[in-house]
Structures are given as structure tokens and as C-alpha cells.
Amino acid sequence: MISTRHDLAVERFAARAMGSALRLVTFGASERDAAKAWAAVRTDIELTEACLSRFQADSDLSRLNTQTATAWTDAPSRLAAMLTVAWRAQRVTDGRFDARVLERLEELGEHAGVPLPPPASGIDPEAPWLQRDGRTRRFRIAQPVDSGGIGKGLGIRWALRAARSAAPAIEGILLEAGGDLVVAGPGPDDGAWSVGVENPSGGDRPLAVIRALDIAVTTSSIAVRQWTGPDGQPVHHLIDPRNGHPAQSGLQAVTVAHRDPAWAETWSKALFIAGRGEVGPEGRRRQLAAWWVEEDGSLHMTPAARDLTAWTATEGDTT
């Protein structure tokens, strides 16, 4: 559902990238500027994918993963940034985010088609899985890692910057990649962007509408990427690093709004892993704008999220 409520031009572009839909919406831009921004986004996303995709055997990340624990590897700036953010995210989230869940995803059946070294015995939260040589900018990892949501968050962060640089006259930009998005500058709804929070149970009607301005909004959800595991049990892609199993969190989805898309991704995943009992207290304690949908389909949100919420369908009381 796309609408415009303003006289200024709204241009839309769509393609597929990073295994999901890639969309760009510009506001207050000429067709030429909008096209330049879209071209810059496409080029930049391809660069990110070539660097951070675990589904491409020749990506920088895949090359790093094949040399696990054996050698120091040159890390291009994007890979270095991803590893650095992932390392910090693990510590900030008390281990709820961990890039090393890649091995478990492969074991459970979500194969990327890229050969990996024999799996390690498991995830030791205390083990320093990342070593950096600051002088040579080389890295060594103890286990294969998945850029996961952080990679996509960084991807749209960099692509937004590229679009801004290519067409600085554009007033507002909304860039979305597979349900994660970032908005910069004014939007067509009274100067802001209206962003729906998907109902993980299905349907086109959102559970809530966020009034977004210069912010990133990402969602961790089990609405997709569910399959039957090796033991015949249903599994999903949100692995709890603390036990190596798909998180039994009592939640269907967690959405977080944050100034940075990589950190929005980090927190949406970490809060999902935290589970139904902890998502509210943790979100409030960290003053995060977070919306979550419990297994019964009820929507809840933190006070910071309420400030950004323009509309809700139905809502529970656990704010």
C-alpha cells in the first residue's frame, strides 16, 4: 500500500538484492536525481553483497570463513566494519547476538551452498573469536561467522550514504531491503514517512504505523525462514546463541527503530532472543523504541516506541 499526500514528486524503484526485495522511494526529487540515487544504491548494495554475502563463495566473508583459525586475512573496509560491529554487538547484547550462529544454521539445514570448515564443538561465549591486527588491518576468526542482519543493516546504511552523495538535492529518501528500512529527510506524510509494522500472522493490514523521520526500522520475525530440521522438528533462523537452538521466545516478531540500521538489526534480534518476559524490561531499560508481537498475536511496545506510533490496530498493555 503506497500513498502520497503531498504535491512534491514521489519516485519509486524496486529490484531484488541480498536475497530479498530492494526498494527505494524518493521524495521531492527530480526524475533524474531519483534515477541517479537508485543507480548509486544498486551499485553500493552490489559492493556490500560481494563483500558480506555468505551465499556467494567468492565474497570476502566466505573467503574469511574458509580460512578459519588458520591464517590472518586481509579484510576490506566493509568486512572489517561488519566484524567490528558484530564483535561489539555480542558484548553489548550480553551474547544474545552472536555472528557464530552460522554453523548452527548450517547444521539445522539452512545451507548457503558455500563450503565451510568442519564445525567447532559449539559456541563458547567467552572465547575471543575475533582477532585484529590494527597495524596491517588483517583479521583472524576462530569460527565461521554470518553477517546476518548486521550485514544488511550496514548495507542499507552505506547505500543510503551513496544515494545522498549521488543526488544531494533529493529531499527525502526511504530505502528498504527485505523488511529492514531507513528513512532520511522529510517524507510525504506531513514531513515524515509512514512505516507499517507487518502482521507476522499474515495479511496486508499492518499492526501499527510508525511516524518515521531520520531513523532506521528493522524487524526480526519468524514469519518466514521456517523449515523442518534434521530431526523432523520445525525450526527457524533466529538461533539463540546461548543454547544453539531456535529461540523459543514466545514471540513472533520484534521491531526496533534506531538511528543506525545495523544497530536496529542488532537489537531487534537480541530482543527477540531475550523472549517475551524480557523484551519489555530490556527495551525500557535501554530506552529502545521496540514493538513486539507475542505468540497470541498481540502487539506491545515500549514508551519510546509509543512516541513514534501513529496508529495501532489492537494493542496489549505491557508497555
Binding site: 500500500m1 503506497i2 523488511g179 507487518e198 504505523v209 514469519a223 518466514v224 498493555d317
Partner: protein
């Protein structure tokens, strides 16, 4: 018979007497002056002490005046506090009466009150039609 000679001796004797008197008077005056100076010298420390005492007395008087002023001020403030305290006392007395009345009323209350169960969840119903959006955040991989 020879006639006595009196014309010369008498003036001489008179001059001599006057001279002796003058010398004696000068000596007495000198002695008196010396005595007066000695007395003055003896009295000088006493005079100095009196002067110091007078100065100290002035300082003491000033201190006493200031203390008196402070005492007056303190007295005024104390009076003000006393008034407030009196008012507070009166308010407490009134409150005590009310507490006593409330306690009496509370004593007549039942020991337990059955309240209806509070709803465990509050559902906020918004407008049925969702506003139009430019994008939707949701599950990755679509």
C-alpha cells in the same frame, strides 16, 4: 661721747635679707618643680592604663551593642517561629481530631473488602482503517 653710726648698716641688712629671701624662694620653687615632675612621671603609666582601659571599654561597648542587636533579631525570629509553631500545633490538633474520627470510622469498616478482579490485559482499539504507508517493516527474506 661718740654718736652711733646707723645710716649704712640698715640698708645693707635690708638688701641682704631680701637677697636671702629671694634665693630661698628660688630654691623652694626649684624644689617644688622637681617634685611636680617626679609626681607627673610617676602618674604617667597610670594615665596610659586609664587611656587603654577607656579604649577597650569602647570596643567592649560596641560588641555589647552588636550582641544586643543580634539578640533583638533572634528574639524577633523566635517570635515568628513561635507563631508558626503555634499554628502548626493548632493544625496538628485539628489533624489529631480528624485522625481520631477516621480511626473511629475505620474501626467500623469490615476487615476485608472483596474487589472485582482487574482485567489482565487492556486492549486499545484504534481506527479500523490503517493509514496509508510508504513501506512496511517485516520478516527478512521475502
Amino acid at each position: 661721747m661718740a654718736q652711733p653710726r646707723t645710716g649704712v648698716h640698715v640698708p645693707l641688712l635690708a638688701v641682704a635679707s631680701v637677697g636671702i629671701y629671694a634665693v630661698s624662694l628660688s630654691g623652694v620653687a626649684l624644689l617644688q618643680a622637681q617634685h611636680d615632675r617626679a609626681i607627673a612621671a610617676e602618674r604617667q603609666p597610670l594615665l596610659d592604663a586609664v587611656a587603654r582601659t577607656a579604649a577597650e571599654r569602647s570596643v567592649t561597648q560596641n560588641a555589647i551593642r552588636r550582641a544586643a542587636d543580634a539578640l533583638v533579631g533572634a528574639s524577633d525570629r523566635y517570635s515568628t517561629t513561635l507563631d508558626a509553631s503555634s499554628q502548626l500545633d493548632a493544625a496538628l490538633a485539628a489533624l489529631a481530631v480528624q485522625v481520631a474520627e477516621t480511626t473511629g470510622a475505620a474501626a467500623r469498616l469490615p476487615t476485608s473488602v472483596a474487589l472485582p478482579a482487574a482485567p489482565a490485559r487492556v486492549v486499545v482499539q484504534s481506527a479500523a482503517v490503517a493509514p496509508a504507508v510508504q513501506a512496511t517493516t517485516g520478516a527478512s527474506g521475502k
